[in-house]
C-alpha cells in the first residue's frame, strides 16, 4: 500500500530529490549539442526535469524525439546542481517503450536492434575481417544498407580487425596446474576491452595489455559481453541489464579478491562505474569503486611511484580530444597527464565539444547530418590546427570519436596508448 501511495504521489525519494535539485537555469539546454542543431529536440531541461514532474505524477509524455538524445551526458557535466538529466531521458524512453505508446518505422527498429548489438555484428565481422571489410567498403552494399534498414551510406562504419584475444595466463585451470596458491592480487588486473577493441581494433587492445604487463601486471580478460551502452542508447534496456548481469558474474570473483578492473573504452568504463552498481546482482556493490579508466589507473600508479617511467623520447605534437563519457566520469583528463610525462610529447587539448557520433547515433540515415553538424566545431579546430602545424595528429581514448574525427577532419586519430607503447619501446613487439 505504502509503495503504491508513493508511486501515485510521485514520491520515489531518489527521483524526487534528483528533480528538486534542478533550479531551472537552463545551462544544460544551452550546452546540449543536439538542441543546437535539431529544432525538434526540445532540449534536456524540457524533456528531463520539466517533463519528469509530469512523469512522476503518472502523466507519460511520449515525444518521438526522445531517441534524439545521444546519451553524450553533456547536460549532466554542465549542470551546476548535479542533476542526472540524461538518466531521466533514458528512463523516459524505457517507460515509453514499455507502454508501447509509440512505434517508429519497422525498418529503423530493425536497425536499432542491430546497432544495439555491436557485439553480434563484431562476431560476424571478425570471422573473416578482410571479406567483411571488402563488402562493407562497396558503395552498393552501403546504399543497400541505407535503403533496407536506414544505415547511412555516408557514415564512417568501423572496419573489422582480427578478433582481440588475450592468452589468459590465469585461467582457473592454469591456476590449479600452477599450484602456487593465490597470486598477489596487486599484481593482477582484469581488463574489460569492450566491443570496439575486441572486434574493430585488436591491436590497440594488445598495446594496452603490453603497457600493463610492462608495469608488472598479469592481465586477465574474461569472455565479457558488450558493456550494454549501445543497447541502452538504442532503446534495449532489458538486454543491457542482462549483459551487465552476465559481466558482473564474470567479474565478481576478481572483485572479491580486490583486483582492479581496467577499461580502455571510456563508455564501457562509465557503464561499469555508474550503471553496474545499480544492477541487482552480486558484484554490483564493488564494481564502481574497483573500476578504473586505463589512464586513470596509470596515473594512480604514478602517484604511488609504481609507474615505470623508463620512457624513450617521442618528439611529437598532438591534439587531444576528451570523449564525452570520459568527462562524465569526473576524473579529469589523466591521459593528458600521462602523455606529458613522456619526454618530447607535446599535447594540446582541443576542447571543442562532442564529436557527434555518440556510439551509433551518427550511423543512422536520419541522424548522420546532425552528427556532422554537432562535430563541425571540433573538425574545424582540428583542420585549422593541422594547417597551422600546431599538431601532427589527434589522440582520443574513444574508438567512436577516433573514426568520427578522422572522417570529419581527415586527421589521423588514434588511442593515446600508442604513444606510451612507443615510449616504452613496445611498439611492434608481440
Amino acid at each position: 500500500m505504502e509503495d503504491q501511495g508513493k508511486r501515485v504521489k510521485g514520491l520515489d525519494p531518489a527521483r524526487a530529490e534528483n528533480l528538486d535539485a534542478c533550479i531551472k537555469c537552463g545551462a544544460c539546454t544551452a550546452q546540449c549539442p543536439v538542441t543546437a542543431v535539431y529544432p525538434l529536440f526540445p532540449g534536456p531541461k524540457s524533456m528531463g526535469p520539466d517533463a519528469e514532474r509530469l512523469r512522476l505524477a503518472g502523466v507519460a509524455l511520449t515525444p518521438d524525439c526522445l531517441s534524439y538524445c545521444t546519451n553524450c551526458k553533456t547536460c549532466e557535466v554542465t549542470c551546476p546542481s548535479g542533476v542526472r538529466v540524461t538518466e531521466m531521458l533514458l528512463r523516459a524512453r524505457e517507460q515509453e517503450k514499455e507502454a508501447k505508446t509509440r512505434l517508429t518505422g519497422r525498418r529503423r527498429n530493425v536497425r536499432d536492434y542491430i546497432l544495439g548489438r555491436a557485439e553480434h555484428l563484431g562476431r560476424l565481422g571478425t570471422v573473416w575481417p578482410a571479406l567483411t571489410n571488402a563488402v562493407l567498403r562497396r558503395k552498393t552494399t552501403r546504399r543497400l544498407l541505407e535503403k533496407s534498414i536506414g544505415l547511412s551510406a555516408r557514415a564512417p562504419l568501423p572496419l573489422y580487425s582480427q578478433k582481440f584475444r588475450h592468452r589468459d595466463k590465469s585461467s582457473p585451470l592454469r591456476e590449479l596446474l600452477r599450484g602456487d596458491g593465490i597470486p598477489d592480487p596487486a599484481a593482477r588486473i582484469v581488463y574489460f576491452p569492450g566491443c570496439f577493441i575486441t572486434y574493430n581494433d585488436a591491436a590497440t587492445g594488445q598495446a594496452v595489455v603490453k603497457v600493463l604487463e610492462h608495469n608488472g601486471f598479469e592481465v586477465i580478460v574474461p569472455e565479457f559481453h558488450c558493456c550494454g551502452v549501445p543497447l541502452t542508447t538504442n532503446g534495449h534496456f532489458r538486454e543491457a541489464v542482462a549483459n551487465a548481469v552476465h559481466n558482473l558474474a564474470l567479474l565478481q570473483p576478481y572483485l572479491e579478491e580486490g583486483i582492479p578492473v581496467i577499461a580502455s573504452c571510456t563508455s564501457c568504463g562509465l557503464a561499469l562505474k555508474d550503471d553496474y552498481p545499480r544492477v541487482a546482482a552480486p558484484g554490483a556493490e564493488r564494481v564502481g569503486a574497483q573500476t578504473y579508466d586505463f589512464f586513470e589507473f596509470l596515473w594512480e600508479l604514478h602517484n604511488r611511484g609504481d609507474l615505470r617511467e623508463d620512457f624513450q623520447a617521442v618528439p611529437v605534437s598532438l591534439a587531444y580530444h576528451a570523449p564525452c563519457h570520459l568527462k562524465a566520469q569526473g576524473i579529469g583528463t589523466p591521459a593528458v597527464r600521462i602523455l606529458r610525462l613522456i619526454p618530447g610529447v607535446k599535447v594540446l587539448e582541443l576542447d571543442a565539444g562532442c564529436c557527434g557520433l555518440s556510439g551509433s547515433f551518427g550511423f543512422k540515415e536520419e541522424k548522420y547530418n546532425l552528427a556532422q553538424q554537432i562535430g563541425s566545431s571540433l573538425f574545424s579546430r582540428v583542420q585549422t590546427g593541422m594547417e597551422e602545424k600546431k599538431f601532427q595528429g589527434v589522440v582520443t581514448e574513444c574508438g567512436g570519436c577516433q573514426i568520427q574525427i578522422a572522417h570529419g577532419s581527415g586527421a589521423e586519430t588514434v588511442n593515446p596508448v600508442w604513444l606510451l607503447a612507443e615510449a616504452y619501446g613496445l611498439k611492434g613487439k608481440s
Partner: protein, 400 residues
C-alpha cells in the same frame, strides 16, 4: 602527485586565478561542479565607482586597493585583446531591450557610442531570435536617439527554416555560431550588400545587429569591418554569445598554459589538518577521487553560483563549511535597492584567507577566497562584479 594549486570554481575569478598561477609556472587543477557562470554573463565587465567603494569598510576594493583593481583591468585586456576600455571611462552598451547601460570593459562592437551621431539606425531583426523583441528595441532606440530614424530590417536565413517551421525560437548562441561559420559570414555579407542599396550614407547610418559576437569570431569581424557603416552589437539574455566567448577564451588560455580542467563533478568533501587543507575529494562516478595540493582557491560563487546554499535553518558555504558573514537583516523594501543578503560571504584577510566573521580569527592558512564568495559587496547595486572577480582572482593566482 601534489598540485601546486587547486582552484574550486570555474567562473571568472577561478579561471583568472588559474591562468595567472599557470603563467607563474604553477601546476594547477581547476575543479568545477558544472559549466561556470560566465556562460550566463552578458560578457561586458563592470568595475563600479572605485573611490566610493574603496571607502566602505571591509569592501573587497578596500582590501585589494585601487592599484590591484587597475592592474586586473589591464590584465584582462592583455588576456583578451578583443576587450576595449579605459580606466574610469565607462562605455555605453545596449541592453537586450535596446536601452543604454554602462560597462567598463567591453568586447569591441558592443560599444554603442556610434549611435550618438547617427541620423539613421537600421535595426536588424533576425527571424525567430530567442528573447529578442524587435518592436521594443526599436521603440527604445527611438526614444533615446530622437535625432535618428530607426528602421527595422527583418532578416531570414535559410539555415533556420526548420526552426521557424516548428515555431521554435533560435537561441542567440545558435545564431552566433552560424554567423561564425564561413557560410554564415558569407550570408551576412550578402545581406549587408542588399541592405546597402537602400541606405543613404549622408544620414550617418549605424546598423544594430543582435544575436552575434564578432569579437570572438575573427572571420565574422572581417566581414563586419567591410560594412560601409558602423555596426553595433547588442548584449544578450543568457545564454549570451559574448559571455560564452569570454568563457571559451579563458578556458582555452588556461589549457594552453598546461592547466587541467575537471568540469562536471564537484568537491564532495575535504581533508583538513591543523588549519590547512590537504586534499579535496571529488565525487567521481563509481568512486571518489582525491587531489592533493599545497594551496587552494575557493571561487565557487555565491547564492546563485551555489557556492552558498540556503535552507530554512542554515546559510552554508558548500565546500569547506566555512562560517559566513550573514547580515542581520536579509532584505530591504526597495526591490532594486539595497538588499543586504547580497553582502553574504566569507570575510578574508589581505591574502584573501578566510577569517571568522566575528572573532576575525584566521581559519585556513592555505585557502584563498575569490570572486562572488567574498563578503561585504553587492554586484548589482554597486556594479563592480567584473572588477571584484578579476582583481581577487588575479591576486589569488599570485598567491598560489
Amino acid at each position: 602527485m601534489m598540485w601546486d594549486g587547486i582552484i574550486i570554481g570555474g567562473g571568472l575569478a577561478g579561471l583568472v586565478a588559474g591562468i595567472r598561477a599557470q603563467e607563474r609556472g604553477k601546476q594547477v587543477l581547476l575543479i568545477s561542479e558544472g559549466a561556470g557562470s560566465l556562460t550566463f554573463a552578458a560578457g561586458v565587465l563592470d568595475f563600479g565607482r572605485m573611490e566610493e567603494l574603496q571607502a566602505q569598510e571591509n569592501h573587497p576594493y578596500a582590501l585589494l586597493g585601487e592599484q590591484a583593481v587597475r592592474d586586473a583591468f589591464r590584465y584582462l585586456i592583455g588576456l583578451c585583446p578583443v576587450y576595449h576600455g579605459e580606466w574610469g571611462r565607462p562605455q555605453a552598451v545596449l541592453t537586450p531591450l535596446g536601452m543604454l547601460r554602462q560597462a567598463d570593459l567591453v568586447p569591441f562592437r558592443l560599444d554603442a557610442s556610434p549611435l550618438a551621431g547617427a541620423r539613421e539606425i537600421i535595426l536588424m531583426a533576425p527571424e525567430g531570435l530567442k528573447d529578442f523583441f524587435p518592436e521594443v528595441v526599436k521603440t527604445n532606440l527611438q526614444k533615446q536617439f530622437p535625432g535618428a530614424a530607426v528602421r527595422l530590417q527583418r532578416l531570414r536565413v535559410e539555415e533556420f527554416t526548420n526552426w521557424h517551421r516548428v515555431g521554435k525560437p533560435v537561441p542567440a548562441t545558435v545564431y552566433a555560431k552560424f554567423w561564425c561559420t564561413r557560410q554564415g559570414a558569407l550570408t551576412l555579407q550578402n545581406l549587408l550588400q542588399e541592405t546597402a542599396l537602400e541606405v543613404r550614407s549622408g544620414l550617418n547610418p549605424v546598423m544594430v545587429i543582435p544575436g552575434l559576437s564578432s569579437a570572438f569570431c575573427p572571420g565574422l569581424a572581417q566581414t563586419l569591418d567591410k560594412a560601409p557603416w558602423p555596426v553595433v552589437e547588442v548584449t544578450s539574455f543568457p545564454p549570451s554569445p559574448a559571455g560564452q566567448g569570454l568563457y571559451e577564451t579563458l578556458k582555452e588560455e588556461f589549457r594552453a598554459l598546461g592547466g587541467e580542467l575537471l568540469i562536471g563533478s564537484g568537491v564532495g568533501r575535504v581533508e583538513i589538518e591543523s588549519q590547512a587543507v590537504r586534499r579535496v575529494i571529488v565525487k567521481s562516478r563509481g568512486k571518489e577521487t582525491a587531489f592533493a595540493a599545497r594551496a587552494f582557491v575557493l571561487a565557487t560563487g555565491g547564492l546563485f553560483g551555489r557556492g552558498i546554499t540556503v535552507s530554512p535553518t542554515e546559510v552554508r558555504e558548500a565546500v569547506f563549511g566555512l562560517p559566513l558573514y550573514v547580515p542581520a537583516e536579509w532584505s530591504g523594501s526597495a526591490f532594486l535597492g539595497e538588499q543586504p543578503y547580497a553582502r553574504t560571504g566569507i570575510a578574508v584577510d589581505d591574502r584573501l584567507r578566510p577569517r571568522h566573521p566575528i572573532s576575525r580569527e584566521l581559519l585556513l592558512t592555505n585557502v584563498h577566497v575569490a570572486g562572488r564568495m567574498l563578503a561585504h559587496w553587492d554586484p548589482w547595486l554597486e556594479r563592480c562584479g567584473g572588477g571584484v572577480s578579476l582583481a581577487s582572482g588575479f591576486l589569488a593566482g599570485e598567491l598560489l
